[in-house]
Amino acid sequence: MSLLTVEKLNVRFATPDGEVHAVKDLGFDLAKGETLGIVGESGSGKSQSVLSLLGLLADNGRAAGTARFENRDLLALAESELREIRGSRISMIFQDPMTSLNPYLTIADQMTQVVREHETVTRQAARERCIEMLEAVRIPEAEARFNRYPHELSGGMRQRVMIASSLLLNPEILIADEPTTALDVTVQAQILDLMRDLNDRYGTAIILITHDLGVVAGLCERVLVMHEGELKERGEVRDIFYRPQHDYTRRLLDAVPRLDEERVEKLAAGAGSGVVPEAGEALLTVDDLKVQFGIPGDGLFAGTRQLRAVDGVSLSLAAGETLGVVGESGCGKSTLARAIVKLVPKSAGRVCLLGREMDALDRETLGEMRRSLQIIFQDPLASLNPRMTVGDIVSEPLWTHRPELDKGSVRQLVTEVLERVGIGGHQLNRYPHEFSGGQCQRIGIARALVLKPRIIICDEPVSALDVSIQAQIVDLLMDLQSDFGLALVFIAHDLAVVRHISHRVMVMYLGTIMEVASREDLYERPAHPYTRALISAVPIPDPDLERSRERELLSGDLPSPLDPPSGCRFRTRCRYAIDRCAAETPKLELLDSTLVACHRADDLRRG
């Protein structure tokens, strides 16, 4: 018998611009102890559909239909009846553990009040149950952490706390709304592992809402695919992945870049040349670059502490080459990008562009050099001035660097470049907020492209976008690269995307380089323990493979960059660490054709 049966669920929102029909005639059921995945891109209605079940829609939202749970219709229940179910029978965890816990209350306050709201137990009993649950979600030193405030815990730890509080009353159903999206891959792997384990142990049914097909492949038994409010397909997980019926599902699967496949030339259909360029003269070389930020210390006489965001990074980039830079948040990859284009001052090191050192240049030449080095940013909308038209935004580099051009030729150049990235010339007079995220990123690319640069630094250019849009932008960048012989520095936390686009890949951890290798070497023969852990943490959108492969789960969290470990910075989380690792910092050394910074890289490779 099914635990939850949803029929003809419709969710509508009243907005000033008219009604938005967010979920259309959705129906599904959930059995006891089952894991159900709901997959979709943004705007697919996947979150709204479950929020409506618990009566948690925003004020302007209305739900219609039926949702039978234990012989009651959730959608018809009064608020007070629903409240009894929420948190005790059906509980929910959310995407952002950072903001989903109340920053003003201790973990203890927030957890015990859930227990005491639904059951009459003593404070002491509630407390014990909470600590027990914290231990069950593998929080070390649970008792001490229990009295902490959320901001004193790491992101992964906070999501564990969220999970613990949602399981306190042993609910029938746990709804997890993008529970790992805000987390780093290594932490995501830990959380997914935990959820799998809890599902086994307590028999809690899980509804997992996600945009990430890899996550679904590893965790769910059945899957719903949603698109624009409609259910496109539902079925067993293996059917969905190996025998997708609906066109949309198929395209979605194709759009996902994968770690386990040969580099496909195009994510979306089409062809291009993916030949690794001849190692020519380096366009850009970075030599022992360091960036430090002063963080004011606390305490009366404490001076400022130095945060070494980038601590001695060297790299070189040839024409037509793509260098991928990966690492978890806080590894300094974005700071590196900003330091190269001089958005943040470097504290040591050299940056040479086209064979000339940038610091040695006078203003004018520097300005000229800047034309050949451009950057695109992570948040497409935020990187466009909301008060300027798209035409003006793309024209600005020309105004700055080619003041000799008259209006007509500026307009012509801008139209050409916009059309090249897929924005029609007639949209020149529109404003950024009238475009979608993907289109905004195209405009950002056009702005970088209009000066015909040699190098573009891409700082997480696709991580704010949906999978299918991601694929289009990546394809566009690869096209542009082969058309104009662009060199790219492609910074991302998503290893699969990086694998797809890069010729060489650099792995960073806490401001330093761990490994640099060609794409093939890095993904097939990772030399550094950190690289291996990263790769094994990335979920693969293939249920059989994902469930059968062996993982090297990383334990623990990223240490504070203010106070990095001595010796090898990775040693606190490295399973191969030896005494020498704490005493001596490993140098970046050549092992076969790979540059790696690990004392044991050699014996690890030999097995």
Binding site: M92, F94, T99, S100, L101
Partner: protein, 307 residues
């Protein structure tokens, strides 16, 4: 915490010094002098008076002398109220202003936060609109209009309350001045509370609390109130300092012997020491209340820590 407090108070010394210097030289730059009103003064007598008050010395000496006095807690004698020292005048006026102003702020805080929270909870309903319109009226009607109106209605027409004077300081005498002072503050505080409360209620952790099955009342009191109060606390610091140092208007309309009138009279009569006294007093209060605000922040917000 203690260390932080001490450090902050030490840090306020230069601020106060600059403040004192600014006020000192500005008031002296104003045309006219403290004895202008007494036209009949013979030149010799005026000369004598100036000597007694050291007004014949060079300005910088006067300034140093004044600072020296301040260090010993001496604000000097008043020029206008010849028989009193400035300290005595302040100590006479402040308790009155403090009582009325303090009551007004307490009232404003209680009513403002309650009304603002209700409006936020019932956002875009009729309750919300009416609360906000009323509070807008509170902001838009200046207290020198509101106070006489209140007097007209409650004292003159209805005869329920005395029209003015402190009388024996009984409750009835305090009602109208306190309400007149509190009304604009209620308006500000309720608008502030409503705004921040709406924002807090939209935040993710409130959604979490709802998803955990907590009832609205507990969500409001336990989860939302604290963060929603933060902006109110910031506002409260300087506002309290201003309100408890008295309001000229209220004092004039209700004939209350508070501190507020000294700000105006002192400046108009070039009563140098009196002006300086109230300015220093006010400045110190501002510094103290800003410190209190920051300490309150540390208490309300666990992320804020003062070592």
């Amino acid at each position: 915490m203690l260390r932080y407090t001490v450090r902050r108070l030490l840090g306020a010394i230069p601020t106060l010094l600059i403040l004192i210097a600014l006020a000192f030289f500005m008031i002296r730059a104003a045309p006219g002098g403290p004895f202008d009103a007494e036209r009949a003064l013979l030149p010799e007598i005026e000369q004598n008076l100036r000597a007694v008050y050291h007004l014949d010395e060079p300005l910088y000496l006067q300034f140093l002398r004044y600072l020296g006095g301040l260090l010993q807690g001496d604000f000097g004698p008043s020029f206008q109220y010849r028989d009193f020292t400035v300290t005595e005048l302040i100590m006479a006026g402040f308790p009155v202003s403090l009582r009325i102003g303090g009551l007004a702020m307490l009232l404003a805080l209680a009513v403002g936060v309650t009304v603002g929270s209700i409006a936020a909870l019932r956002q875009n309903t009729r309750i919300d609109y009416s609360v906000m319109s009323v509070s807008m009226t509170g902001i838009s009607i200046p207290n020198f209009v509101m106070a006489p109106m209140l007097v007209l209605v409650f004292a003159v027409y209805l005869g329920w309350l005395p029209a003015g004077g402190l009388g024996d300081g009984s409750f009835a005498n305090l009602v109208l001045p306190v309400i007149s002072l509190a009304l604009p503050q209620i308006a500000y505080i309720s608008r502030l509370t409503r705004g921040s409360m709406i924002e807090v209620l939209r935040s993710n952790f409130i959604r979490t609390a709802r998803a955990q099955g907590l009832p609205e009342r507990k969500i409001l009191l336990r989860h939302a109130l604290k963060p929603a109060l933060l902006p109110v606390v910031s506002y409260l610091g300087p506002a309290t300092a201003a309100v408890i140092t008295g309001s000229v208007v209220i004092e004039q309309i209700f004939s209350i012997p508070g501190l507020g009138r000294f700000f105006v009279q002192g400046a108009l009569n070039r009563d140098y020491t009196l002006v300086m006294g109230v300015v220093v007093f006010y400045g110190t209060l501002i510094v103290v209340f800003n410190l209190l605000v920051d300490l309150a922040y540390a208490w309300l917000d666990p992320k804020v820590k003062y070592a």
